[in-house]
Subunit: 349 residues, 3 copies
C-alpha cells in the first residue's frame, strides 16, 4: 500500500509551533505520528501511540525536549526512549516509542516512515518554499477522501485541465493535445511540455484584453509518494511554435505540492503557488493560491466520486488510453519501489 522508505510531507513548518499545547497529530502512510517542536526549535516526530496501552501521545504534554503521555504520565525523550514511569523506578527497555527521522526543508516538514538507517535527506524532493528570497510563495492545504494513487494519476496527466478545471485554471482543448516528455528518475518522473497560443484561463481572463494569447511552459518534477513540483512560466504567445517561446515573459511561477497518504481512503494535500519576485505584482501570488483552493476542490470532487466507484468495483477491467502515459510511468515507479519493499500491489487504479 505505502512505500516505507520515503520522506513524507507532514505539513508546513509553521503548523508546528512553540505553543505550549501545540502537539500536531497526523496520519501518514497508515501510521499515527505526533509532531512537536523542542525549545531549540528542532522538530520531533514520534509514533502517536503510547507503548503502555496505546493512549494518544498527541493528547500529552510538552516538557522541555520531552513528551509526557497524559494518561499514566510516562515520559518520552525526543528519541522515543522512556525516561520516567510514575510509580516505579525501573524502566523496561521495551518501554519506548518509535521516533521518525524528521527534516525541515523549504518550509515543509519531512518524515521518513521506513528504516531510519536509510533516511538520506538527499532523497527529499526539491521545492521552493515561502521563505525562499527570490519567490513570493503562498501556501494552503486540503483533505481529500481518496486513495493517493488516484492523486498520482491526476497529477501525472495535466490533460484534465481541459475538463475538470474548465472554469478555473484550464479549459483549453490544447491540453490533451500536448505531448509531454516524461523522463523516469530513480524515484519518480520529470515531465516537460509547452501549450501554445491559448487564451487566459477563466480564473485570470478578467486581467487581460480579449484576444490575448499565451505560450505556457510546464516543467514538472514528481517523486514518491506523490510530491509534485512545477516550474510554470507564462509568455505572451510568440510566433515560433516549436522550441523555446520567443514571447515576452508574463509570469514566472512555482507551485509545490505534496500529497501525503493518510490511509487507504484519504490524503492530506499541502500545496503552494507563487511568482518570482521579478514578475510578482500586488495580489498576484495571493490570487494564484486562492485559485488553487478552488481548482483543487474541483479535483477533489472528481477523485472522491472516483474513489467510491473504485472501491465498489476494485477488480473492474478498465481500459487504457494514450493519456495514461504519465500516470502509468509514475505508478510503475511506485509499484517498483513497493515491490522492492515486498508490498503487494493494490488493485486500486
Amino acid at each position: 500500500m505505502f512505500v516505507r522508505n520515503a520522506w513524507y510531507c507532514a505539513g508546513w513548518n509553521y503548523e508546528v509551533t512553540q505553543g505550549r499545547d501545540n502537539l500536531v497529530a497526523r496520519e501518514i502512510a497508515g501510521e499515527r505520528v505526533v509532531l512537536y517542536r523542542k525549545p531549540s526549535g528542532e522538530i520531533v516526530a514520534l509514533e502517536d501511540r503510547c507503548p503502555h496501552r496505546q493512549a494518544a501521545l498527541s493528547r500529552g504534554r510538552k516538557e522541555g525536549d520531552s513528551l509526557r503521555c497524559m494518561y499514566h504520565g510516562m515520559k518520552f525523550a525526543a528519541d522515543g526512549a522512556c525516561t520516567e514511569i510514575p510509580g516505579q523506578s525501573v524502566i523496561p527497555e521495551r518501554a519506548c516509542v518509535r521516533a521518525f527521522p524528521v527534516v525541515e526543508k523549504d518550509d515543509w516538514i519531512w518524515v521518513w516512515m521506513g528504516d531510519a538507517a536509510k533516511a538520506d535527506p538527499k532523497l527529499i524532493c526539491f521545492a521552493v518554499g515561502p521563505s525562499h528570497p527570490d519567490w513570493v510563495i503562498r501556501t494552503s492545504k486540503m483533505r481529500v477522501n481518496c486513495n493517493y494513487r488516484l492523486e498520482i494519476a491526476n497529477l501525472a496527466d495535466l490533460s484534465h485541465l481541459a475538463w475538470v478545471h474548465e472554469n478555473t485554471v484550464g479549459g483549453s482543448r490544447k491540453y490533451p493535445e500536448a505531448k509531454p516528455q516524461h523522463t523516469l528518475t530513480p524515484r519518480g518522473m520529470n515531465s516537460f511540455f509547452w501549450v501554445r497560443q491559448v487564451p487566459p484561463t477563466a480564473a485570470v481572463a478578467h486581467l487581460f484584453a480579449e484576444g490575448t494569447l499565451f505560450d505556457l511552459r510546464f516543467e514538472i518534477q514528481m517523486t514518491v509518494p506523490c510530491n509534485w513540483i512545477m516550474h510554470f512560466t507564462i509568455y505572451t504567445a510568440g510566433t515560433a511554435t516549436e522550441g523555446d517561446s520567443n514571447g515576452q515573459l508574463v509570469a514566472d511561477t512555482y507551485t509545490c505540492q505534496a500529497v501525503t497518504p493518510r490511509d487507504a481512503d484519504s490524503v492530506d494535500y499541502y500545496y503552494s503557488w507563487g511568482a518570482s519576485r521579478a514578475t510578482e505584482f500586488p495580489g498576484l501570488s495571493d490570487m494564484l493560491r486562492d485559485t488553487l483552493n478552488i481548482a483543487f476542490r474541483e479535483d477533489a470532487d472528481v477523485l472522491e466520486a472516483q474513489h467510491i466507484r473504485v472501491k465498489e468495483r476494485p477488480h473492474l477491467k478498465t481500459i487504457d488510453i494514450a493519456l495514461d502515459a504519465g500516470p502509468g510511468k509514475m505508478l510503475w515507479v511506485l509499484d517498483k519501489l513497493l515491490k522492492e519493499e515486498g508490498e503487494p500491489r493494490t488493485v486500486a487504479a
Copy 2:
C-alpha cells in the same frame, strides 16, 4: 439480492429535465446509473462509471445526444459507444459504457437492469400517473434506509395500518381482520379486500360528522421488484356487508408506489396519490399526498429500526403468523425469479 431482468423505477420523469447541468445520478439494484434527456426529449440511462478509470459520468457534460466525461474528456453516445478519446484517434472497442433500456410511462422513468434483449416494455407495471386526464394525481418521493424486502413485506400486508398508521391513514382494528384475496401473477401478486363500517382515519376525521362510517375497497397490483398500485375507493358505509358496497361513492383514488432498491441497505421510494376527476374537490388530492408523506415516515421509522435489528441477527429464527400470507406470496415470487437468475436467496426477512 436483486432481480436483474426487471424494470426498476428511476424516478419521476419531471426530475430529468433539459437543463444544461441536469444529470441525475441514481443507485438502482446495486448499479450506478446516470440519467439525462437528449434534445429530442428521449431519456438516456448509462452506467455512471467511466470505463477508463471509473470517474463519475454524472459529473460530466451533456453535448447534444452525448455525454462527455469531464475527467479526461471521453465522449459517449446515447448507446454507450465511445465516440471520442482526447489525445488519440483510435478508439478501442471495449471503450464503451453500459447503456440501460429506458422507458417513460405514466410519468415514471423505468430502467431495465438485466439482459437488454429481454427488456419487454409490456412488463412495465400498470400505473396511473399525474398526466392522466381522468385522475388528479400528486407525487412525492422519499429515501428509506432498509432492505427492499422489508418494504415488500410492509406493502403486501396492510394490516399494519391498524398500528403503524394509527394517527394518520389507519387505526381501525378491522384491518387485521380483513381477509385479502391474494392472487399470484407471473411477476407479482394481486390483492383484493373490503374493510367495512370503519370511521374516518385520523388524517381526515375533521372533514366528517362524528359517527360517519365508511366501506373501503382495496384493489392492489404488486409486481417485482416492489411496485405497488392501489385502486382505493371510499363509500359511505352500506348495510350490505358482503359483496360490493351498496354505499354512496365518497372518493375514488389511485395511489401508485414504486420502491426501488439502491443497495442492500436503502431504497428510493417514488409514490403518488390522488382522486378521480369526478370525485376530486379542491385540496383533496394535495391532502392525500401530504398524508402519505407523513404516513410513509411512520413506515420508515418502523422499517429502519427493523432493518438494524435484522442486520444484527440475520439468522434469527423468527415466527410466522397468518398475516404473513401476502408477504410470503410476494417474496416467494421474488425468490423464484432470483433463483431463475441464479441469485442466492438472502437471509434478510
Copy 3:
C-alpha cells in the same frame, strides 16, 4: 466479550416513568432491551425485538402490564409471553419475547443478561443512591465510545488523576505514588488507599485558603461488569501520615458509577456524587456532580482516542507497568468469569 450472568445497570430509575410513551430502549452487552413500567410501578425488561420479524418493540405501545408491537399488533405480557396475534386465534408457543430479570435498587435499574435461574439479587453491587436519606447524591450520565475494558482499566487505577484530571479533580503527583491495597472479591476487587498532604484540586481550589492541605481517603468497591463505588473522604491534613487521618473531617462523600457496555465500541456511563447530609453545605453536592461531568469528558477524550488506536492495532504487544496492578486484577476477574461462561478472551486492552 460480555459476561452473561451479571447484573447490568440499565439507567437511573427515574428515567423509566409511567408516561404513556415512555418506552426506554437500551443496548446492554450486545442485546437490545426495552424497559417500561407497569401501572403497579414494577419495571419490565424485554428484548427489544419482536419475534415475528424483528420490529423494535420500543416503538410499541404500553397496554396495562403488556407491550404491544405497533407493527403487526402482537401483544406481549410482562413475562414475554405473547397474548394476542391479530388476525389469528392460535398463538404458537415460540411466539414469545425474552424477558430479563430486573431489579430496582439504590435508584438504579439492574438487568440480568444471563440465565434467569441464576439471577440472584444479592449479586447486585452495593451503592448509595439519591434517595438515601443520609446522603445528598446528585446523578448524571454519559455515552462514551470505547470498549468497556478500557473503562475498567481507567477506573481500577486512579493514578491517572495526576494527569488526565490535572485541571479538575486531580493533578497531584502523589496519586501515582499511592500504594493502593487491592483485594480480590468473588466478582471484583476492593481498593483502599490514602493520599496525604495534597492541596485542593483545581475544581475546588477557589474554596480554600492558599496553602491548605488535605488527607484523602479512598475506599472503592469494584464489581463486574464495571461498577465502581467509592467512599471518598476529605480531611484537613493531619500530622500523622500513617494509619487513619488525625485531621478534621471536611467532606464525607460517595460516588457511585456504573459503566454498562452497549456493544464492543461504546458504553453508557451512569454516575453520581454527593456528600453526607452531615457534611453537605449548599451547592456542594451539585458542584461535585458538575465536576464529574467535566472530568469524565476528560476521561472520554482519552479513552476514545485510545479505543481508536487499539482497534487499529489489536495485536500490538504493549508493555506493563507497576500501576497496572489494579487494572490487571480486575480484568483477571472479568476474564475468569468470561472463561467460565465459555467466552473467548478479547484482545482489546
